[in-house]
């Protein structure tokens, strides 16, 4: 299993780890049986994500993708965060081993889940805004 230097850096020094007590949106995906759970916390001001934190139970790639995904969306507009794909996370990390691609999918889904939770709290139906996403193993295309 070969991880890129960037993956190892984000694993060893993860950015944005922790909780936001008064978060505006929280999303959790994965399950412990599969060995990966990601929880994302968002602080939102108007149309901007002003702060983001994560907690992850999972392998090195799960922690690194969580870290990278939060770094990408921190300070960005909600509409840009919704466009974040797992592919972009993988590229930003200089690639992931094939067996670990599902971790990047989880990171993308965790952000969508947190934004959906934010819209719900605003009294909005998240489906047309966020689109389809999965919170369980369905999120994980890499799993068989």
């Amino acid at each position: 299993m070969l991880y890129s230097e960037k993956v190892l850096d984000h694993f060893a020094n993860p950015r944005n780890v922790g909780e936001i007590k008064d978060a505006d949106g929280i999303g959790e995906v994965g399950n412990a049986k599969c060995g990966d759970i990601m929880r994302m916390y968002l602080k939102i001001d108007g149309d901007t994500i002003t702060d983001v934190k994560f907690q992850t139970f999972g392998c090195g790639a799960a922690i690194a993708t969580s870290s990278m995904a939060t770094e990408i969306i921190k300070g960005s507009k909600i509409e840009d965060a919704l466009k974040l794909t797992n592919k972009a996370v993988v590229e930003a990390l200089d690639g992931l081993p094939p067996a670990k691609i599902h971790c990047s999918v989880l990171a993308e889904q965790a952000i969508k889940a947190a934004l959906a939770n934010y819209f719900e709290k605003q009294g909005l139906d998240p489906t047309p805004l966020v689109g389809e996403f999965h919170t369980d193993c369905e999120a994980c295309h890499g799993c068989h």
């Binding site: 299993m1 993860p14 049986k33 060995g35 759970i37 907690q55 139970f57 392998c59 090195g60």
Partner: protein, 389 residues
């Protein structure tokens, strides 16, 4: 960078300098093909026969019962496929094994199932043992082979091999054991322990990779796995890996010299690790603490994932391994940990350390100091940790 603490000797071991020294002439001046008639060929042939004597002596076997192979996996494949291929003609198509064998045995047995053989997969108990009684009860009219590992590669539990062998011999059934992890850590006597076939690997005992042994008791018939030339008395074709065979011979001679002393020393270090690591809350020792390989440590830490734990230990200069799915590339964690009844989520958070006689008190103290810190760090990051009951 601090010194690396190598605690993954169940995966592989470094070559002993004395082994390398014994091997070197066969990589340089004695390059002859052992099947050749001239002197440099004869030198190589003699060296192989010396190694065969060294291996035979270590197991209480006869020299003509020792066959060199390309490694432990090949030996396992040959023992199972080769024996059942011939037993089939006598109507023996049933194999008995356990549900926590190494993949070399497990996947070979699955292959046999696909080819019309029947396999009974005996469950192990939660301590990691199978009993001779279970074997006896599973024996049927058409049972041809029992294959049960000597000691488990993940949790180190040592099986009642002599008792199982005795049952097999009373019933006239062949008994094979994968002893890859056991060699050098347990006194093995193929006669007293009623073993018909035994697999071992060189690189687990400070010899090089790519060489192994299958002990085949006189009179046990096997069809060939590798066909071709007449090497290994016509039973395993291919020009011999002379230097590696010489290395294996030297390594087994060295490692079987002082087994009781080594068990005493290594167990003490391992038990220190168990005692220290057990102070970590919500941890558990996997497998029994009795009848266990002296260097084997296997524990699970709740709310922590194994691969992340390994990476973080590596950042601290400690090499270990895990039964986590994430290290294997599959979704399921270790079949061994599931076999002893661990739920998936606990099995994902497992750590195996395998120390040996080269491990020092200082090494285990460093591991005992680092382990709680990295477990704690990962738990701080884990959304599961503070939600546990």
């Amino acid at each position: 960078m601090n010194k690396v603490i190598y605690a993954d000797n169940a995966a592989t071991t470094p070559i002993d300098p004395r082994v390398l020294e014994a091997m070197t002439p066969y990589l340089t001046e004695h390059y002859g093909n052992p099947s050749s008639i001239y002197s440099i060929g004869r030198d190589a042939k003699r060296a192989i026969e010396t190694a065969r004597e060294q291996v035979a002596k270590a197991f209480g076997a006869k020299v003509q019962e020792i066959y060199f192979t390309g490694g432990g996996s090949e030996s396992d494949n040959w023992a199972i496929k080769g024996s059942m291929d011939l037993l089939k003609a006598k109507g023996k198509t049933h194999i008995i094994t356990t549900n926590f064998e190494h993949h070399a045995v497990m996947d070979t047995c699955k292959f046999m199932e696909k080819h019309g053989f029947e396999v009974t997969w005996l469950p192990v108990d939660e301590e990691g043992y199978v009993t001779a009684k279970q074997v006896e009860e599973a024996i049927k009219e058409d049972t041809g082979l029992v294959t049960i590992m000597y000691a488990n590669n993940e949790i180190g539990t040592i099986q009642p091999i002599a008792e199982i062998g005795e049952i097999c011999h009373q019933k006239g059934i062949l008994f094979h054991t994968d002893a890859v992890q056991a060699v050098g850590n347990i006194e093995i006597d193929v006669v007293k322990q009623h073993i018909d076939m035994l697999s071992m690997s060189g690189h687990k005992i400070h010899a090089p990779k790519g060489v192994g042994v299958l002990y085949v008791k006189n009179g046990v018939r096997l069809s060939n796995l590798v066909h071709g030339g007449g090497q290994e008395r016509g039973r395993r074709a291919g020009t011999e890996n002379v230097a590696a065979i010489v290395g294996l011979g030297k390594a087994i001679e060295l490692i079987t010299q002082n087994i009781p002393e080594r068990i005493e020393k290594v167990s003490r270090l391992r038990d220190y690790l168990f005692a220290q690591a057990s102070k970590i809350e919500r941890s558990r020792i996997n497998g029994s603490t009795k009848n266990r390989l002296c260097g084997n440590f296997n524990m699970s830490f709740e709310a922590v994932e194994g691969e992340a734990l390994l990476l973080m230990l590596d950042l601290n200069g400690i090499c270990g391994s895990s039964g986590s799915a994430c290290t294997s590339g599959s979704l399921d964690p270790s079949h061994v940990l599931l076999a002893i009844g661990l739920p998936h989520e606990i099995a994902h958070g497992s750590l195996r350390l395998s120390i040996n006689e080269q491990t020092t008190q200082e090494d285990v103290e460093k591991i005992a100091e680092v382990l709680p810190k990295v477990v704690g760090r990962l738990r701080e990051m884990s959304p599961v940790w503070n939600k546990l009951d």
